[in-house]
Symmetry: C2
């Protein structure tokens, strides 16, 4: 049930390709996260919470401060402090006051966090393939275009 954007949102035409592209990116994003939510729901994690876990694991045990997590997050405007609080209440991360700078907080993934993440990871990877209806060379091309799109 592939659909051109124009059919999907019942719009006759766009002013020009640039205007269509902005709408297309918004629409494709919605398509993606709607599917993603179903994947994360059974684990009681949101996509951004999963992403924070992934970021922490990438540190190989070394903790990250809240602001460093924020820097690495996909959505720069979201609130790392509150996401960390949510993950902590699920015992997936731990927060320790940084000894060299008491303003900062060292956040690291817990054993339980690793377990949940590893379990989810395989499914996420399969999902990412299944949700994208393109061949590998097209996917590479799309990545290049998106990387260059942003100024």
């Amino acid at each position: 049930m592939m659909m051109r954007l124009e059919e999907a949102i019942k719009q006759k035409e766009f002013k020009d390709p640039y205007n269509k592209l902005v709408v297309n990116l918004l629409y494709t994003h919605s398509y993606l996260v709607t599917a993603q939510n179903g994947l994360f729901k059974p684990y009681d994690l949101s996509p951004e919470q999963y992403n924070v876990l992934r970021i922490l694991r990438g540190q190989n045990g070394k903790p990250l401060t809240v602001s460093s997590i924020q820097d690495r997050m996909l959505n720069k405007m979201s609130n790392a402090s509150r996401l960390v609080e949510k993950l902590k209440s699920k015992e997936l991360v731990q927060r320790v006051e940084c000894p060299t700078d008491r303003r900062q907080v060292d956040v690291s993934i817990t054993e339980k966090g690793y377990q949940v993440l590893n379990e989810l990871e395989k499914q996420v990877s399969e999902f990412n393939h299944s949700v994208i209806n393109l061949g590998e060379s097209e996917v590479i091309q799309l990545n290049e275009l998106l990387d260059r799109l942003r100024k």
Copy 2:
């Protein structure tokens, strides 16, 4: 200050291009809406509220029911009912009980809604060009890939 995704989120590498693409789409979306918010802010409209106005204007005066608006929205999960309420309180749309089916509500754009929309439209179009750092043929290519990506 163009950056490959890997630099932007300080991640060494991705498992494969499909996994990178999902993250790339999420990240590019965030880049886009962050910029968009600045554009809409002075008009006290959110991007989705703007989109609803645009949808209603596309009807050339004919009203749409709340569920038809929902169908045409970019985010199928968002709440058309509450967005319409917000727009009504700003007097940008009007709501009339549908005479043939009292469950339904006919929503249409007001004169004031037209004015705001027309004023914004030029800026939005300029913005859409300026935010995309690609040539027209690449933009067309990107649109085609996104349309095919979705199943």
